[in-house]
């Protein structure tokens, strides 16, 4: 016999962490607090809809449901939802974050990753570049070997008990300073060994200087490499231009294909940006896979509304485009193609620990960007913002309050996040977007939230097909036939 408290639990759940959605007709119910994923039928969908929108008037909601379903069916739905709740698979309580956050305040800061700006200069002139064509509004310069060494020391000295550390060579175009990269990598490996730690290196490049020598170097050092390319030639060449104004597609594609072949198609991502010039960006993702690439990441541009940045009206178009992308990628995957689209890679089984789930980005307290002159900023997107200058690699972090500020920006300190169903998967979004668009680290960018939620839905849809394959479609067909028989 259902109690009012059962309805209360369902009402609280559907208005908090439990979220139902349909992607290409597949009805999915997610409890982001429990981490559980379910397929549901129309009766459950309508039942949850009624409870969600009844404002606590459960009797009214049930009367509404009785117009469409028999009492027997409604009872069945209720019984199943309650038994799933009793098993901890639905309407789960949120983990006790308060206790965790209290304890965390006593923990010392440990630096985990650095984004080294090896070069504040670039050999391309991309229209949408947030780095102002490489120099972030600062003077053009290359990082010296001494600054690089000192950055490695800063990382190791402040890494506490962490064993796995990261350095990303970034720019501008970091390969303009290849000699320093070689030196810093060798120095980093040597020093990490002395500390009994390991540094994983990443290189983000526009590929123009990705020659044989560089390929051998990054492969030898097992670097993860992020290769920039936006997709179709016509799209890429409209924005990603060489210094002489020509498009970069032809030369870049050739270099990328040679490179991924040289490392057996492993440990890389081809990373593209889409803008309001290609709202049909799924075609660009498909194009990248058509080139024979296996690991692709394409994401929205960071820019105010305008030539490149999105207007509010564009967002619903982009949501539909993500659905088209998910459907297309599932088809390709089911036909046997190797598909790794970064933003659909949601770990359904274990996921991250609570510490990561409440604060996805470590910018400003465990992750920093270092400029060629050694200045430290919370992340690469804050470089050049004088208010966010935190110190330098020679004297360390001077602004400890800012570290505390960034550490305190988590899903429970952001009012919008606290009530959002996606918070344990998205983990609060990008600090830089929040600051640049809303002037506060604690107010996430709304349009980014909408797209993030859509990516999560599509990611779950993709992962379900990845795990269960064609059985999902067969199951849904079977379920439909049962519903017909039942009615």
């Amino acid at each position: 016999m259902a109690e009012v408290s059962d309805f209360e639990a369902i009402y609280q759940g559907v208005n908090k962490n439990v979220h139902k959605f349909k992607i290409n007709g597949l009805p999915v119910l997610l409890d982001a607090a429990a981490g559980s994923v379910h397929l549901i039928d129309n009766a459950v969908w309508d039942f949850l809809d009624s409870i969600e929108n009844c404002c606590g008037r459960f009797a009214y909601a049930l009367r509404e449901l009785e117009r469409k379903y028999s009492r027997r069916e409604i009872k069945e739905v209720l019984r199943e939802l309650i038994s799933l709740r009793d098993l901890g698979l639905l309407f789960a309580d949120e983990p006790n974050a308060e206790e965790f956050l209290e304890k965390e305040k006593e923990r010392e800061f440990m630096v985990k990753a650095l984004c080294l700006h090896a070069a504040h200069d670039c050999n391309m002139t991309c229209g949408y570049c947030f780095a102002a064509e490489g120099n972030f509004g600062l003077k053009k310069e290359l990082m010296s070997k001494e600054v690089g060494e000192r950055a490695v020391d800063f990382l190791l000295e402040n890494s506490g008990s962490r064993r796995t550390l990261e350095i990303d060579f970034f720019g501008g175009e970091p390969l303009l300073n290849f000699e320093a990269i070689e030196h810093i990598t060798a120095y980093g490996n040597k020093k990490a060994e002395e500390y009994g730690k390991r540094i994983n290196f990443t290189l983000t490049t526009n590929c123009l200087l990705l020659n044989q020598e560089v390929c051998e170097f990054v492969n030898r050092n097992k670097m993860q490499v992020i290769l920039s390319l936006d997709g179709r030639k016509i799209i890429n060449d409209r924005v990603r231009l060489l210094k002489d104004g020509r498009g970069s597609y032809d030369v870049v594609v050739k270099r990328i294909l040679n490179f991924v072949e040289s490392r057996n198609h492993e440990n890389y991502y081809v990373r593209g940006t889409f803008t309001r010039k290609n709202l049909d960006f799924s075609k660009d993702v498909f194009h990248l896979f058509d080139l024979g690439l296996k690991h692709v990441s394409v994401e929205p541009v960071v820019a105010p509304p305008g030539e490149y940045g999105f207007y509010e009206d564009d967002i619903s178009v982009l949501e539909m485009e993500y659905e088209r992308l998910a459907e297309g990628l599932v088809k390709r995957m089911l036909s046997g193609q190797d598909i790794d689209f970064y933003h659909f890679n949601i770990d359904l089984d274990e996921g991250q620990c609570l510490s990561r789930k409440i604060r996805g980005c470590g910018a400003g307290f465990e992750y920093f960007a270092v400029t060629p002159s050694g200045d430290i900023y919370p992340c690469h997107q804050f470089v050049g913002e004088k208010n966010f200058l935190m110190g330098n690699v020679f004297e360390g972090i001077k602004n400890k309050d800012m570290m505390e500020l960034f550490r305190s920006a988590h899903i429970y300190s952001k009012p919008k996040c606290r009530e959002c169903w996606a918070k344990f998967i998205c983990s609060g979004g990008c600090h830089a977007s929040a600051y640049y668009f809303n002037g506060s680290l604690f107010e996430p960018l709304e349009t980014a939230c909408i797209l993030q939620k859509k990516r999560i839905e599509c990611g779950i849809y993709f992962q379900l097909y990845k795990r269960f394959g064609q059985q999902i479609s067969e199951l849904m067909d079977f379920r439909d036939s049962l519903e017909e028989k039942g009615s």
């Binding site: 981490g35 549901i40 199943e80 796995t164 770990d347 609570l354 470590g362 344990f424 990611g459 269960f468």
Partner: protein, 88 residues
């Protein structure tokens, strides 16, 4: 043969007792199971595909060995949903 004869009434009784708990007849339920062996919980209206672990997790403190989101394939849209825990 004798055992089969003995079991027959038990089976019939079993089906009879289970009927109220099954939305559809036993044959379709069996078929349902056969079609979808990996599904963890079978029910009439909800099928649980992934059980999840967060509320049971005792890994709240975090070892910090995982990859920093922005260091991987994205540099502008941070998320941890697609980051694997290195302890698993």
């Amino acid at each position: 043969m004798k055992i089969k004869i003995f079991l027959a009434p038990v089976l019939v009784m079993g089906i009879f007792c289970l009927q109220p708990f099954l939305c559809y007849n036993l044959v379709t339920e069996v078929e349902f199971f056969r079609w979808f062996k990996e599904v963890t919980i079978m029910a009439s209206h909800v099928i649980t595909l992934v059980k999840g672990v967060l509320v049971k997790s005792d890994r709240s403190a975090g070892c910090g060995e995982c990859q920093t989101s922005c260091q991987s394939a994205c540099k502008t849209s941070c998320t941890v949903g697609n980051q694997k825990c290195l302890n698993h």
